[in-house]
């Protein structure tokens, strides 16, 4: 199939960006979206132009590096799918596809489709961990954890930190990301010890980074490639309220 791409190009954070139009010729249905961009980039390089730059690494939907807004939807709008796992069989011959970077003030564009997501790392550094040093930990089976809690913690821990939730949100809110980490750790007995401190510190780091507030539109959960549910935001709000009442 043949496609027309309208791609956001931007030299660096300080330069203005613009859309450029490129043809994508002889594309196969079995290609992934990023493989299609590889093909277009090969042609650009061959003609002496700089390739379209984008983040990607594992290309199997787990590292969270890839981050494209396709036709206005982060990751392209297929349930539970990152853009690296999105295949061209979902597109039709002759289609025009718009490709943009994540758009959010806390995620400045570095170049083309690459954005700076270190704000997420800073939120984790503020409290997204359990304070144990290496060594001297009790036996793995010393504290039984109900399968239900453990499974629920795993549902939250599945977050890949890609930032699609922020890119989809009209407020650029990071609540889904932060609540997934708060919930993952707060649900486990090992994480309960620091539950209040964690919720308070991560929420304040999130605010400091400039992410917006949550108005519960649910667009974050709709685009989340790991299908993290909104209920974790509710849980974090509860944990946060308790933490504030306790004076954290």
């Amino acid at each position: 199939m043949n496609l027309t791409l309208k791609v956001w190009r931007q030299k660096d954070a300080n330069s203005p960006g613009r859309f450029e139009t490129y043809p994508a010729r002889d594309i196969l249905a079995d290609m992934s979206f990023l493989e299609m961009l590889d093909v277009v980039n090969e042609e650009l390089i061959a003609s002496g132009r700089e390739p379209i730059m984008f983040d990607s690494d594992c290309r199997e939907g787990i590292c969270g590096a890839c981050s494209l807004v396709i036709n206005g939807v982060p990751h392209g709008g297929h349930r539970g799918t990152t853009v690296c796992q999105l295949h061209l069989r979902h597109f039709t011959d002759g289609q025009t596809i718009t490709i943009e970077p994540w758009r959010a003030r806390p995620f400045p564009v570095i170049r083309d489709l690459i954005v700076d997501r270190t704000a997420f790392d800073r939120i984790i550094q503020a409290g997204g961990f359990i304070s144990v040093n290496t060594g001297g930990t009790p036996d793995g089976n010393a504290i039984p954890i109900s399968k239900r809690d453990s499974d629920k913690a795993m549902d939250a821990a599945a977050c890949i930190g890609c930032g699609a939730c922020v890119a989809a949100c009209k407020n650029a809110s990071a609540m889904l990301f932060v609540s997934a980490k708060v919930s993952h750790l707060n649900l486990l007995p090992q994480g309960k010890v620091e539950k209040d401190r964690r919720a308070a510190r991560m929420v304040s780091a999130m605010d400091e980074a400039g992410f917006g507030n949550c108005t519960v539109t649910g667009s974050c959960a709709a685009v989340c490639p790991k299908e993290i549910p909104l209920s974790f935001i509710a849980k974090m709000n509860r944990d946060y309220a308790v933490a504030i009442l306790k004076g954290e």
């Binding site: 992934s32 650009l44 690494d57 590292c63 690459i114 700076d116 790392d121 040093n133 090992q190």
Partner: protein
């Protein structure tokens, strides 16, 4: 060059404890005086950086990704082994040690492997304490599953995302230290060379991948935890960015490279669909617990709907050839068996390079819901890529390059032949011999980072009194200039071919001549072809853009430039090793029924190569492998 493995004396079970007691300690107040540079932030790098910082060392950590959380350890699916014997099925430290030695086809060091098995139990405790949500049973205790090459159930897992969860545990520990100011993190920063002064590793030269600036960092020790090199095959299960640049530059600065020909081809990956393919996707080996592997008995049935092939017309070749291990035969054996049936023309799918992995019996036995609970995310991933529903029709799988057992040579303390340069995880050669068992890579990465290096690095600081060198030392400037010149040369070439096309060509050549099966004629041909291709690369490569700012074409070109050199060492090693063992299968050396024929008399050694300059062939050094505990037997899974 002298290879001294520094293996402690005494009975195997006591070596590590004895060594830990005998090596020198750094006074807690003195630790902050030592700067450690950790390159790589996967399981080995992140766990080492966090643990060293907790001890009080000053740590700087570097990764090429935008965040340490994205290192490729994250993609490991199936699980992590540990000799907990929670199942009461006869597991022990000794059995895990034995299985790993045997799985590695008697080409790894006994002392290292025993230590790995010993600390495996601490890893699980550590990860649980960090909040890693391992799978649990209804009683609240940890669940286990089986993996290839073992007859006990000792693999701990977190759905199909074990690597992700373990990495997030290590990333969280690292993030805690970053928050405390004990680790300075440098994401989007790529190590491009090692600085050696007076024979000791003193620092690294890096390129900032955002500004393009080339800069130096000085330290008292350098730790490489930069992963494996199988992207040399172009198509592999590694992430697109995985590269050998750090270990290759260290090799060229004097670190011996051990067993480069030991590469693992994983049996269960999604088959290649066309030339556009950018990488291969692994389907966890854990699927082999419930899936049965087969091809049609007759070639003609290869195009039929698999569900219409009668039971009697199917060849469950692993169950037939290896009745006691069946579908859980180790990776090297399963991969070769798949190649064999495809070579016979009995492969399936459009390319005929595929075999079926069929879940219908298990679905009948335990129900679709149970299978979904165990592997749901893998089935979904399969469907996204192929458009097929594996609950209804068997998966198609084929082997793909997956893991490098070879790597930089290290002693028992994980130090390379360059004093002050430590190598961890997949980047070193130490624990897996000629073949790695499933669920052992995560174990090794975390063992090295949490429980080995934090002890052994102190001994180096105390016993060698390394003199600190500032980054203003002329040697740093000289190496920086070399790096800048190489970068300029790549950009100046402005030839006709893209980096990708040259990488693909190199990969195809290696896959054909030095992949699942190798022979003298093929290797000699590859050794003739690789230097030609390398010359073509430097003459005719087209790298767009400039050195300043983000330039992904330049990053990729530098990495492929190093693969062009590493490929030659890989083939040189494969040609030298005139035997078949583990992942290294030489067609000249096989038994009558097609199994690997090892030659313990002549090849029971680690082959460590020393770089002698661009125009000189590398020199082979041999570290003999002595087996005091385990009898070297013919590996049988029948």
């Amino acid at each position: 060059m002298k290879l001294d493995a520094q293996i402690p004396a005494g009975p195997i079970a006591q070596k590590w404890d004895k060594h830990k007691f005998e090596i020198k300690l750094v006074n807690p107040a003195n630790k902050r005086r030592f700067d450690v540079l950790v390159v790589g932030s996967g399981l080995a790098g992140a766990s080492a950086a966090a643990s060293l910082a907790e001890l009080g060392y000053n740590v700087k950590c570097f990764c090429y990704q935008d965040s340490p959380r994205r290192a490729h350890s994250i993609a490991a699916q199936g699980g992590i082994n540990a000799a907990k014997n929670y199942r009461n099925d006869g597991d022990s430290v000794y059995r895990l040690f034995y299985d790993t030695i045997k799985g590695g086809d008697f080409r790894s060091r006994e002392a290292n492997v025993h230590r790995l098995a010993q600390v495996s139990v601490n890893i699980i405790d550590q990860c649980v304490a960090q909040g890693v949500p391992f799978a649990r049973e209804y009683g609240g205790l940890l669940d286990n599953r089986s993996f290839g090459g073992a007859q006990v159930s000792r693999t701990f897992y977190a759905r199909g995302q074990t690597g992700q969860q373990l990495l997030l545990g290590a990333y969280q520990a690292l993030s805690r230290q970053i928050g405390l100011g004990t680790v300075k993190m440098h994401p989007r920063t790529e190590m491009l060379d090692l600085v050696v002064i007076d024979g000791q590793a003193k620092g690294i030269v890096v390129r900032d991948l955002v500004t393009g600036e080339i800069a130096s960092f000085a330290g008292d020790a350098v730790v490489l935890a930069t992963g494996g090199y199988v992207n040399v095959f172009f198509l592999s299960t590694n992430a697109k960015g995985c590269n050998a640049t750090a270990i290759w530059r260290a090799y060229k600065r004097g670190a011996a490279f051990a067993n480069p020909c030991y590469t693992q081809i994983h049996p269960t990956c999604i088959p290649v669909s066309g030339d556009h393919q950018s990488k291969l996707t692994l389907m966890s080996e854990s699927l082999r617990n419930d899936g049965r592997i087969w091809v049609p008995k007759r070639k003609e049935d290869g195009d039929k709907d698999p569900n219409s092939v009668a039971e009697a017309d199917r060849d469950y070749y692993l169950e037939r050839k290896y009745p006691s291990f069946g579908n859980l035969a180790p990776r090297d054996i399963s991969s070769r068996a798949a190649k064999e049936v495809c070579d016979e023309g009995r492969g399936v799918g459009p390319t005929k390079l595929g075999v079926y992995l069929d879940f219908s019996d298990s679905i009948k036995r335990v129900g679709e819901d149970t299978i979904r609970e165990r592997y749901g995310n893998l089935f979904e991933m399969y469907e996204r890529i192929t458009g097929e529903n594996a609950y209804r029709t068997p998966m198609r799988i084929f082997p793909a390059a997956h893991y490098a057992m070879g790597g930089l040579w290290v002693d028992y303390n994980l130090m390379s032949t360059i004093p002050g340069l430590f190598v961890l995880g997949e980047a070193n050669f130490s624990d897996h011999g000629a073949n790695r068992l499933g669920a052992s890579a995560l174990m090794q990465g975390l063992a090295d980072g949490y429980f080995v290096l934090p002890y052994t690095i102190g001994h180096y600081f105390v016993s060698t009194k390394p003199a600190k060198q500032p980054a203003s030392h002329p040697e740093f400037k000289r190496v920086e200039a070399e790096v800048a010149a190489r970068t300029q040369r790549l950009l100046a070439s402005k030839g006709k071919r893209t980096v990708l096309s040259l990488h693909r060509e190199l990969g195809r050549l290696l896959w054909e001549k030095c992949g699942m099966a190798r022979n003298e004629a093929g290797l000699k041909e590859a050794l003739k072809r690789i230097p030609e291709l390398r010359e073509e690369f430097w003459k005719n490569v087209n790298v767009t853009g400039e050195v300043g700012g983000v330039n992904q074409a330049l990053e990729y070109a530098g990495r492929v430039g190093d693969f062009m050199e590493l490929a030659e060492l890989l083939c040189t090693d494969a040609l030298m090793r005139r035997e078949s063992c583990g992942g290294h299968f030489r067609t000249e050396f096989q038994t009558e029924d097609g199994e690997a024929r090892r030659d313990d008399e002549n090849f029971a050694f680690v082959g460590a190569w020393e770089y002698k300059g661009a125009d000189q062939p590398p020199v082979l050094h041999k570290e003999p492998l002595v087996y005091d505990e385990v009898h070297m037997s013919t590996r049988s899974y029948k």
